[in-house]
């Protein structure tokens, strides 16, 4: 409503309130606002204003949203259930600092298959993550690569994969091919039955890039997988042919912007009312308790 302050002044409404084209059309039809007229800008309620700010043609220029990977969606729904109640109230988890988690799937990946796929051959995959959605006010706390492997072998035992991850720097000034700036060798061990995600912490690996506000992260992964667990016997003849599902990149962030929820910040939570009077006693009207009237 025109009276609502706050978002009216700053186009800083929370991101998820930026409704896409159809909701905005519905709203503008309801408000009988001229489509895309500049003067209407001042009258727009915050929701439409956020849309309008997306450019002179507002929501029409909004490209349709790309649909996320279904596995990634399942993972994030599970993360949501662990972090908030059914009504969306954040759960108080001790020591939890993040108030934002972003999951990116690679915008492209290309697998270099060896000429003949012999046993124990090294697979190598290149993939690129675009981090444009990370804002300058979102500080990286932790980053994780989420692996999942497809194997055609219905095996009940576990698999061990030796991986070598390298970060490729694109020096666009010189046309030489990308140089490798960091590399990381690690082994992933997982039990195929559970087909769980296998998480690999790459925080120290990515920290410098995120700190430099790098928008594109180009990685190369070489891996070979053997049947069995690292303690047991993983002889080369146990090599198993697996296909790497393109990993997702998970960023745990602390959004320091005004609208984000800051745990334990005394300024915002539990502050006393500004009046000299103490907080009203239990059962006061403010708690919506009619019996508390008298």
């Amino acid at each position: 409503s025109p009276r609502s302050r706050g978002w009216e002044d700053s186009a800083e409404a929370p991101g998820f309130l930026a409704a896409p084209e159809d909701a905005a059309n519905q709203l503008s039809a309801g408000l009988q606002l001229p489509q895309g007229e500049a003067p209407a800008h001042a009258l727009l309620p915050p929701l439409l204003k956020v849309l309008h700010n997306r450019g002179p043609r507002g929501w029409h220029s909004e490209a349709p949203r790309l649909q996320p990977d279904s596995r990634a969606l399942r993972y994030m729904k599970r993360l949501y259930r662990m972090s908030a109640t059914r009504d969306g109230i954040p759960k108080a988890q001790r020591g939890r600092l993040y108030n934002t988690v972003r999951l990116f799937t690679p915008c492209w990946e290309c697998e270099h298959r060896p000429a003949h796929l012999g046993k124990g051959d090294v697979h190598s995959v290149d993939f690129l993550f675009n981090l444009d959605r990370v804002t300058a006010l979102e500080h990286l706390l932790k980053s994780v690569l989420l692996y999942s492997f497809d194997t055609s072998v219905p095996i009940s035992s576990s698999i061990t994969c030796m991986c070598h991850l390298s970060l490729k720097e694109h020096d666009f000034s010189s046309q030489v091919c990308p140089s490798i700036s960091h590399s990381l060798a690690f082994s992933l061990h997982f039990d195929v039955r559970k087909r769980k995600w296998v998480e690999m912490d790459v925080t120290s690996f990515l920290q410098p890039l995120i700190a430099m506000n790098r928008r594109n992260v180009h990685m190369a992964l070489n891996f070979t997988c053997l049947m069995g667990d690292p303690q047991g016997s993983t002889k080369l003849e146990n090599a198993v042919n697996v296909t790497l599902v393109p990993p997702s990149l998970l960023l745990y962030l602390n959004d320091t912007s005004e609208q984000a929820y800051h745990r334990g910040s005394s300024l915002r939570h539990g502050r006393k009312s500004s009046s000299p009077l103490v907080d009203p006693p239990k059962g006061d009207r403010g708690q919506g308790n009619p019996q508390g009237k008298r």
């Binding site: 998820f16 969606l73 994030m76 009504d87 972003r102 959605r133 984000a260 403010g286 919506g288």
Partner: protein, 136 residues
């Protein structure tokens, strides 16, 4: 006074004094629709936003509605200014608005959304659910 009037003019209808008394007391009666928190639940599918807001499915922002009583006292945690505003409205200048019933405290909301580039974000937003009302 009403007894004295009765003695002077015993036929005077007692109703007039009773009416004056009720008029006088009216200013202390608490308004029936006093300022308090009201529940309101919406689902993002009603707004057709469920295509990109994955969770929560329903959201209860709550809101504050009702009249602010004259005798606020400590019940709403209102500053003294609120009572001064009421007196100005009643005695000096009715164009000055009476105090309004507004939220005094909020709680956050966790939202899971799909971004335009297809990435997925879990975010906790401040001040998304009104939890207490006050008169200001």
């Amino acid at each position: 006074a009403s007894r004295q009037r009765r003695n002077e003019n015993p036929k005077a209808a007692p109703a007039t004094s009773a009416r004056n008394l009720s008029e006088y007391l009216k200013q202390f009666v608490f308004p029936q629709n006093e300022c308090e928190l009201h529940s309101f639940r919406l689902s993002f599918s009603q707004l057709r936003w469920d295509r990109w807001i994955i969770a929560p499915h329903r959201y209860s922002p709550q809101f504050c509605r009702g009249e602010c009583p004259r005798a606020l006292g400590h019940r709403y945690g209102s500053p003294v200014h609120t009572m001064v505003q009421t007196l100005i409205y009643e005695r000096l200048d009715p164009s000055v608005p009476r105090p309004s019933c507004v939220p005094a405290a909020y709680s956050p909301l966790s939202v899971l959304t799909i971004e335009p580039d297809g990435s997925i974000v879990y975010k906790e937003y401040e001040d998304m659910i009104a939890t207490k009302c006050t008169c200001r």
